[in-house]
Amino acid sequence: MVEYAWLAPLLPLVGYVFLLALGRRAPEGLVAGISVILTFLSFLVSLAVFTALGSHPDATGAYTFRWLTLGTHSIDVGFQVTHLNALMLLVVSAVSTLVFLFSVGYMHKDERFSVFYQYLNLFVFSMMALVISPNLFQLYIFWEMVGLCSYLLIGFWYFKPEAALAAKKSFIVTRLGDVGLFIGIILLFLSSGSFDYSTVFQAATSGHLGLPWISSAHLTTLAAILVFTGAVGKSAQFPLHIWLPDAMEGPTPVSALIHAATMVAAGVYLVARTYPLFEASGVALTVVAWIGGITALLGALIALTQRDIKRVIAYSTISQLGYMMMGLGVGAYAYGMFHLFTHAFFKALLFLAAGSVIHAVDTQDLFEMGGLGKKMRITQWTFLFGALALAGVFPWAGFWSKDSIINATLQSGHIVLFWFAEIAAFCTAFYIFRVYFLTFHGKPKDEAKYAHAHEGSWVMTVPLIILAIMAFIAGFFNTGLNNYGLEKYLMADSPTGLIGHVYPDNVALMIASVALALLGILVAALMYWKPVISAEKLAQSLGGIYRLSFRKFYLDEIYYRLIVWTGKLIASIVDFFDRYILDAIVWLLGRAGYMGGVGLKYTQTGQVQTYSVIALFGLMILVAIAMFHVGGVF
C-alpha cells in the first residue's frame, strides 16, 4: 500500500483541476460534493498507508525518478513515506475532510464558493505533497505552494482592506523565514552534494558536511538554524509570530485548516523531518527549545486579554506550536509530534466552533456575545470539549500530549523552560474558559444579534461532533491503554535512537498539571461566569501589565518602527538609483540596440548579389585571419 501513497496528494489535485475546468459559476452542491468525496478518498488512502506502515515498519524507502542531471549532481523527484510522514498524511486528510464539509455551510451563498474550494483543494494537494517529499528541494517547492495558498485564502475576501493587508503581511513575514530556509537548503546541498534527506543526514551525523570556509560542526549548526528560521516563519514562532493573528481575516474554515491544524504545523514537521540534523548539532536543538518555550509563554500571555474570539484562539495556536517546538527542542521528538496530532483535532474544533458562533451572530467581538449556549447546544458542548482538551484536563487529548512535553522538559533538566510551560498552561486554561464563559454563558450583550442566532445545519454540526470525539479520545493513542502505540510507531523511523528520547509517565506532575488547569478554569469562572472578581478592576490594578498583554507586547509597533521604516528608507534610496540612473542606462542600451538592429536591417537589401558579396567578403576576411593565425602561408 505504501507505494500508492502518491494517490493521497493526487486526489485533491484532481479535484482542483476538475473545479478549475468547471469554472467559477459551478453549482455549490457539485463543487462541494466532488471536493468532500475526493478528500475523503484521500483520507482513506492515508489511513491505509498509515496502517500498512504499522505492519511493515521497514517500507520507508523513497520512490523517486531522476528529474534533472547537472554535471555530477542530480535531482530526483518522487515520494517517501516514513512513519512521521504517514502520521502527517493522516492528520492533514482527516482535518481537511471535516473542514471541507463544514465549509459547505459556512461559505453557503458566497459569490466565489467554487474558487474557495479550488484554493482549498490546491492547498491540500500542496500540503500532502510537502509531507511526502523525499528531498529538501521538493519540500521547498511545496513549502512555497502552501504559503501561496495561505496567502490566497487569507485574502479571500480581498475587498476587505484588512484581509488584503493581512494576506500581504503573512506572505512577507513568512518570506523572511523562507529566505533562511532557502539558504540553509543551498548550504546543505553545496556541502553534501545532494538534496536527499538521507544523504544530508548521513553527512551531518558522520561529520562530513564540509565547505572550505567553515568547519563541519559549525556548518551543521548554521544549516540547522537556517532551516529552523523557515520553521519559525511558517509555524509563527517568536519573533515571526505576528502574521498569524492577522491571518484570522480569512474565512474561519481556512483558519481551522491552514492556520491551526496543518500548514502552521509544517514548521514543526520540518524540524521533526530534519531532526537528525538538529541532533547532530546540540546548539541548534537548544535554540529550538528556547524559541519554543518563549513562544508558548508569550502566546499564552497575549491571549489572556484579546477581545476578538478568533484572535484568542490564534494566539493559543502560537502558544501550542511553541509547546511542540519546545518538545522537539528538549529531545522529546515523539511527544512534539503527539501534541501536533492531538492539537490538530482540538484546535480545528475550537476554530470551527468559533466559526459556527460567528456564522450565527455575525461578530467576532467576545463582548458582543454571551448566553449563546441556550441557542446553540451542539456548538457549546463541542467547544467545551475543545476547551477542556486545550486546557489539559484529564482525560481529554491535550492533557496527555501537553503533559508528556512538560514532563520531558523537566526530566531533561530544562528547569526554566519547565516553569515557562507551567505558567503558560495556567494561562491557557484561563483564556480559553474566558472565551467559553463570555460566549456561551451570562446574559446576551447584544439582543439583536442574540435573537437572530441559531445552530447551523448538519454539514456544520457533524464535523464539530466528530472533532469533539477526537478531542476526547486522541490522547489515548499514546497511553498505557494501547501500550504507547504512537510513540513506538514514530520512533520506528530510527531504531538507532537518532530521534530523541521518551520518558516514563510522571503521576505527581500529571496531578499538579491538572490542578493548575482547574485553577485556571476556576479563576475564569469567577471572573466571567459568576462575577465574584471584577475583570475591569483587576485590569486597572494591573495597569501596565494588562496593557502590555493587550497591546501584544508592542511587538507589531516595534517591528513597524524598526523594520518597515528602515525598509522604506532603503527602498526610497534604491528607487532613486533605479529610476534615474539604472533606467537611463537601460534606456540608452535599448535605444542603441534597436538602432543597431535597424542599421543591420538595411544590409538586407533583397538583392542576391549583395548577399553573395557580403558572404564572400566575410568568408575571405575570416579565412585570412585564420590563415594568419596559424601561420605558414604568409
Binding site: 534533472l68 542531471t69 540596440g593 564572400l616
Partner: protein
C-alpha cells in the same frame, strides 16, 4: 514468415533501415501520385506519414545499439540514432503541417515525395561516414529544398525565395567542396574513420592546409545553417515559402546540417580539436549578436522567425565550438547539450510556424499586428504561442530554458565564459522581440467584432503535439536526457 523476419533482422538492413524505409515510401508515393491524378490527394501524405513512423520505429530500435558499420559508409552510433530520430519526428510534424493545405490553397502534389527525398538526404547526412556520401546526402536535401521553397510556381515571393536559396546554396556547396578537396588532397582518402586516424599527421605536416580545410568546410556548412555572414538568404526563403516548408527549412534542414557538421569536423579533426574549433566559436558569437539585433525591428512574422532561427543556430554552435576547449570526457555532455537544444528548438519552432500560419491564413497578413487580440479570438492559440515564445526566449520551466542552461553550464565548466556571456546577453536582447509578440497577443483588440480563429484538425493536433513536447521537455527533461546519457557517444 519466420525466415522473412530473420532476413529483416540482418544487421545490414538494420543499419540502413530508416533510410531504406523512407526511400521506398518516397518512390511509392511518387508512383501513386502519377497514377491518381484527381481529387483530394491528401491520403498520399497519410502514406508518407505512415512510412515515416515505421522508419522512426526502426531508428528508435537502434537507440542503445552498439556502434555498427555497413558498406564502409553507413554507421549506427549515438550520432546517427539521435539525429535520425529527431529528423524523422520533424518530418512527421511537417507532413502533418502540410495536411492543412487543401482546396484552392493546396500545394503541388510533388511536395510530399520531395519532403521524403529531402529526409532521405538528411538521414544520409546523419548516418554516413564518407565525404562523398555525406555530400550526396547534403545535395539531395538541398536540391529538394530549393524546389520545395519554389513549390508555389505562381507566387513571385515563393519563386524569388527559391532562386535566392539555390544561388546561395550553390555558393555554400562550392565552398564546402573546396574545403573537402583540400582534406582529400593531403590525406588521399574520403573515409572519415581513416581521416580520423590521419588527422594528427595532417596537422603537423600541413598545418595551414588543414586549418583552411576546416574553416572552408565550416563556412560551407554555415550557408546551410544560415550562420552570419552567410545567412542573408534566410528571411527571403522563409518568407517566400509556404509556412510548412519554412518550418521544414528551419528545423529539419538545420538538424541535418548540424549532424553533418558534427560528424564531418569532429571525425576529421578530433585529434587537433584544440587548434581549430576555436573558429566555430567566433562564428557562433557573430551569429548570436547579429541574428538577435537584426530581429529587433522586424514586423513580418515569418522574417522574424527566420532571424530568430539564425540566432538559435548561433546558440547551438556554442557547444560545438566548445569541443576545442574540452577533453574527450566532456564530449558526451556537449553532445547532450546540442541534441537537447535541437529537440527543444524543433518543437517550439514548428509550433511557432504553425500558429503564425493559422493566424496569417485568417487575416491574410504576415504583419505581426495580425496577432493583436489573439487571446480574445482564440485563447488556446494564444497560450500555445506564448509557450513557444517563452521557450525560445528561454524562460524557466520551458524546454528552451533548459537547453540554454545546459549550454551555459558547458561554457562555465570548460572555462570559456565569454561565449556564455554572449549567449546570455543576446538572449536578453531576444526577449524584446519574443515578448513583443506576446504583448500584441494579449492586447485587447480595439474593434468590437471578434472573429474566432478557425483551426483545422491537423493544425490543432500539430500545435497540441508541439505544446506537449515543449512543456514535457521543460518540466521533465529526464525523459529525453536519460536516453541521451545512455547513448554511446564516444567509441
Amino acid at each position: 514468415m519466420p525466415s522473412a523476419i530473420n532476413w529483416l533482422q540482418q544487421p545490414y538492413w538494420m543499419t540502413m533501415g530508416p533510410l531504406l524505409v523512407v526511400v521506398i515510401t518516397a518512390f511509392l508515393v511518387m508512383v501513386l501520385e502519377l497514377i491518381f491524378r484527381n481529387g483530394d490527394r491528401r491520403w498520399l501524405t497519410g502514406i508518407s506519414m505512415l512510412g515515416t513512423l515505421i522508419a522512426l520505429g526502426v531508428a528508435l530500435g537502434h537507440f542503445s545499439a552498439q556502434p555498427n558499420q555497413a558498406l564502409n559508409t553507413v554507421v549506427i552510433d549515438a550520432f546517427s540514432s539521435v539525429f535520425s530520430v529527431l529528423i524523422l519526428i520533424t518530418v512527421f510534424l511537417v507532413l502533418l503541417f502540410t495536411l492543412d493545405y487543401r482546396g484552392s490553397n493546396r500545394l503541388a502534389a510533388e511536395h510530399t515525395y520531395l519532403l521524403l527525398f529531402a529526409t532521405a538526404g538528411a538521414l544520409a547526412m546523419a548516418t554516413s561516414v564518407d565525404l562523398v556520401t555525406l555530400y550526396v546526402g547534403l545535395e539531395l536535401l538541398s536540391i529538394s529544398s530549393y524546389v520545395l521553397v519554389a513549390v508555389r510556381r505562381k507566387s513571385v515571393h515563393s519563386v524569388e525565395g527559391g532562386i535566392k536559396y539555390m544561388l546561395m546554396g550553390a555558393l555554400g556547396s562550392a565552398v564546402l567542396l573546396y574545403g573537402m578537396s583540400f582534406i582529400y588532397g593531403i590525406s588521399g582518402t574520403t573515409n572519415l574513420m581513416e581521416l580520423s586516424a590521419a588527422a594528427g599527421t595532417m596537422f603537423t605536416t600541413y598545418p595551414s592546409i588543414t586549418v583552411l580545410g576546416f574553416v572552408l568546410m565550416l563556412f560551407g556548412m554555415g550557408f546551410k545553417l544560415s550562420l552570419v555572414p552567410f545567412h542573408m538568404w534566410t528571411p527571403d526563403a522563409y518568407a517566400g515559402a509556404p509556412s510548412a516548408i519554412s518550418s521544414f527549412l528551419a528545423t529539419l534542414s538545420k538538424t541535418a546540417a548540424f549532424a553533418m557538421l558534427l560528424r564531418l569536423l569532429l571525425f576529421i579533426f578530433n585529434g587537433v580539436a584544440d587548434k581549430v574549433f576555436f573558429w566555430a566559436g567566433i562564428l557562433a558569437a557573430i551569429t548570436m549578436v547579429v541574428g538577435n539585433f537584426i530581429a529587433l525591428p522586424q514586423r513580418n512574422m515569418k522574417r522574424l522567425l527566420a532571424f530568430s532561427s539564425v540566432a538559435q543556430a548561433g546558440y547551438i554552435l556554442v557547444p560545438f565550438a566548445l569541443i576545442g576547449a574540452s577533453t574527450v570526457q566532456d564530449w558526451p555532455s556537449l553532445f547532450d547539450s546540442i541534441s537537447f537544444y535541437l529537440f527543444a528548438y524543433t518543437f517550439m519552432t514548428v509550433g511557432a510556424f504553425a500558429v503564425v500560419h493559422i493566424v496569417s491564413e485568417q487575416t491574410h497578413s504576415l504583419d505581426s499586428d495580425a496577432l493583436i487580440g489573439l487571446f480574445q479570438r482564440s485563447p488556446w492559440l494564444a497560450v500555445a504561442l506564448s509557450i513557444f515564445m517563452l521557450s525560445m526566449a528561454g524562460m524557466p520551466l520551458t524546454a528552451g530554458f533548459l537547453g540554454k542552461f545546459y549550454i551555459f553550464a558547458n561554457t562555465v565548466q570548460l572555462h570559456t565564459p565569454w561565449l556564455g556571456i554572449v549567449l546570455f546577453a543576446t538572449s536578453v536582447v531576444s526577449f524584446f522581440y519574443y515578448l513583443g509578440w506576446l504583448r500584441k497577443v494579449f492586447q485587447r483588440e480595439p474593434e468590437g467584432d471578434l472573429v474566432a480563429v478557425p483551426i483545422s484538425l491537423p493544425m490543432n493536433t500539430l500545435v497540441t503535439l508541439c505544446v506537449v513536447l515543449t512543456v514535457v521537455l521543460g518540466l521533465v527533461p529526464a525523459t529525453l536526457l536519460h536516453p541521451l546519457l545512455s547513448a554511446h557517444w564516444v567509441y
